[in-house]
């Protein structure tokens, strides 16, 4: 069973008087445990594809299947449950909840999932240590650097071990060292926990870690190749 299956997806946005085809009859299948990098110039459709896979945006036509379930016809509540249980998100801008500390941000998804307090605490401390933020658990986002915030966002995305992690330009605001550490963490999770990663990026360093490169242009896949990770 595929982790992700998109069939003939179309999505058009209207910008002023112009229709922009973000997804143009796109079909793609991603197997469980793959580490996929979506690449395209700006406006090529990779973020739209990520949003469609994550159930954040509904395509105009076509089908989206996640772990054998068709999601493009689900209600908002069902999509919320699906995201909560199966998908971890890392967004381009860190997107932490500013009123919560680093640890509370990491615990947030688990708390909504109903994980016990002790387990949440153990897991959040462990994952924050894993992403190099030991000792910063009590800091709020405004008290952390961009790189630290992004690592908190990554910790939040992976702490409950989702089957699928969707990351949109995860290294866009990170320095080279932090980017490398982050990608090594992704690779480790992919290899040791068989977590499926779909990452949209321009970053050549990220592409080097991917096992599969999907190039997009104007909402279509123009190249889909497997490669050996760095």
């Amino acid at each position: 069973m595929s982790a992700v299956r998109c069939i003939d997806l179309c999505k058009t946005y209207r910008q002023g008087d112009v229709d922009i085809k973000a997804l143009d009859h796109l079909t793609v299948e991603i197997e469980k445990g793959e580490f996929v990098c979506l690449m395209s110039p700006s406006g090529g459709g990779k973020t739209t594809l990520l949003n469609a896979i994550g159930g954040l945006d509904i395509p105009d036509s076509g089908e989206v299947w996640i772990a054998g379930e068709r999601i493009d016809q689900m209600s908002k509540g069902e999509l919320a449950d699906l995201r909560l249980a199966n998908i971890g998100f890392v967004f381009q801008a860190y997107n932490l909840i500013p009123v919560l500390t680093a640890q509370e941000n990491v615990e947030f998804v688990m708390q909504v999932q109903g994980v016990s307090s002790a387990e949440r605490r153990n897991k959040s401390f462990a994952i924050l240590e894993e992403v190099g933020l030991k000792g910063l658990e009590g800091r709020r986002p405004a008290e952390m650097s961009g790189g630290q915030q992004q690592r908190v966002a990554v910790a939040r995305a992976i702490v409950s071990r989702p089957e699928l992690v969707l990351a949109d330009e995860p290294t866009a605001n990170l320095d080279s060292k932090t980017s490398t550490e982050l990608m090594e963490l992704f690779t480790e999770l992919n290899e040791h926990h068989n977590t499926t990663f779909v990452i949209a990026t321009h970053d050549q360093r990220v592409q080097a870690y991917a096992k599969r490169l999907v190039r997009m242009l104007d909402g279509r896949i123009v190249d889909d190749v497997e490669q050996h990770a760095a």
Binding site: D57, R83, P98, V99
Partner: protein, 409 residues
């Protein structure tokens, strides 16, 4: 419960994210709540005082009359039972207090002036529980018994009649045959009341002396009963009804003095309207605060939705935030009201406007009455209305599409 805790923590943190705005809004709610309760306490205090004064002048909670008496309060419309029989019926019935009296219109004349008054022929001992007159605060003395031959006038009436303690006046009324019934009395005391109108309206003589003057034998025009609470006179009313027959009319005080009776009902309605008016003013601030709070965190709402929080949880979070804001504001407002009303409970001197207040039956000292039911009502109404006022911004927040919200700049 788990989700409620998560949402409550988020709501509380978001409330203090923009602490300046929250403090301004809390101040508005607290001042509004204070105004609601303080004004209500003043008004209720005034109305209560008017009612208590009115009842103590009328007096009593329940009364017995001849069926025609309230329309024509003359000596011809006397209670059908003799005073002896009345005593036999009610003495051992367990009333808090009761008294029978003669109450008829009369004219009192001094050597200089005449005035129309209400003559009250009373037994001072039985009347003590009812009377607005402080027996110990009378210039001269009060009546000593039902056979007392003296008369007690109001201080203001004495001034009008240009008479004083020790002088004589003539009291004149009609007997049952419509003949003039009059008698000279020596003024033995001048009573004081909260309102000058009361001092001008009533004169007291001994009950037996009045009966003799009016030639009505052992009869009276009115029997009055006191219960425990003027707001709930039904137990006394029912007891009295059970002890009499159709030859007399039993009336609650609200039927005898419809003005005061209506006033009591109006007070509760006024309280509700007052609370709603204040809340409407507050609600603009509340809704504006919530709209701003939602607007400035659209991205975060989008993020929460993207992470798997349901729209209903977003709705709940905003509502909890609103309820927390209101609850904290109400607690502060309640405390402020308590702290400002308590020191004033011994009375606020409003004698500078006494004349105006007297026109509608209020005294020159105002005793604020902090009624717990008023506090509860204002708090509950604010919370309920606040809930509904918050629904719109909360609903809007829950309807955001995550992908649009998360990319909002």
């Amino acid at each position: 419960m788990r989700m409620f805790f998560v949402l409550s923590r988020l709501a509380w943190r978001y409330l203090w994210r923009n602490h300046r705005r929250t403090i301004v809004m809390l101040s508005a709610i607290a001042v509004g709540t204070w105004a609601m309760i303080f004004m209500t306490a003043l008004t209720r205090g005034m109305v209560d005082q008017m009612i208590v004064d009115g009842i103590s002048v009328i007096p009593g909670h329940v009364q017995i009359h001849d069926p025609e008496y309230l329309d024509d309060p003359s000596v011809n419309n006397r209670v059908a039972f003799s005073d002896t029989e009345i005593a036999a019926r009610f003495s051992d019935a367990g009333f808090t207090a009761w008294a029978s009296r003669v109450r008829v219109p009369a004219v009192v004349t001094s050597e200089r002036e005449s005035r129309g008054v209400t003559l009250l022929g009373i037994d001072p001992a039985a009347e003590k529980s009812f009377s607005f007159v402080d027996y110990d605060n009378v210039d001269g003395r009060f009546l000593e018994g039902p056979d007392d031959k003296g008369i007690v006038l109001g201080a203001k009436l004495a001034e009008t009649l240009e008479t004083r303690v020790g002088k004589r006046v003539v009291l004149m009324s009609q007997d049952p045959d419509n003949e003039i019934a009059d008698r000279g009395f020596r003024v033995v005391g001048l009573f004081h009341a909260e309102m000058e109108a009361t001092e001008e309206s009533y004169t007291f003589v001994g009950k037996h002396t009045a009966q003799n003057m009016l030639r009505i034998g052992d009869t009276v025009t009115e029997v009055v009963f006191l219960g425990d609470d003027y707001r709930d006179v039904e137990p006394v009313y029912n007891k009295v009804v059970g002890l009499v027959d159709d030859s007399v009319r039993v009336s609650r005080w609200t039927e005898v003095d419809t003005y005061l009776g209506t006033m009591m009902g109006m007070m509760d309605g006024f309280m509700l309207i007052w609370v709603i008016v204040i809340f409407l003013a507050l609600s603009f601030g509340l809704v504006n605060t919530l709209v701003m709070a939602v607007f400035e965190r659209i991205r975060e709402i989008g993020l929460m939705l993207a992470l798997g929080m349901k729209p209903s949880s977003i709705l709940g979070q905003i509502l909890i935030e609103s309820m927390m804001l209101l609850a904290v504001g109400l607690v502060i407002g309640d405390f402020l009201a308590w702290a400002t009303i308590k020191p004033l409970e011994s009375g606020i001197d409003i004698s500078v406007v006494a004349k105006g207040m007297e026109m509608f039956g209020a005294a020159s000292v105002l005793y604020p009455n902090l009624d717990i039911n008023d506090v509860i009502l204002s708090n509950v109404v604010v919370m309920i209305l606040g809930f509904f006022a918050s629904l719109s911004p909360a609903w809007r927040a829950s309807r955001y599409e995550p992908v649009e919200a998360i990319t909002k700049v």
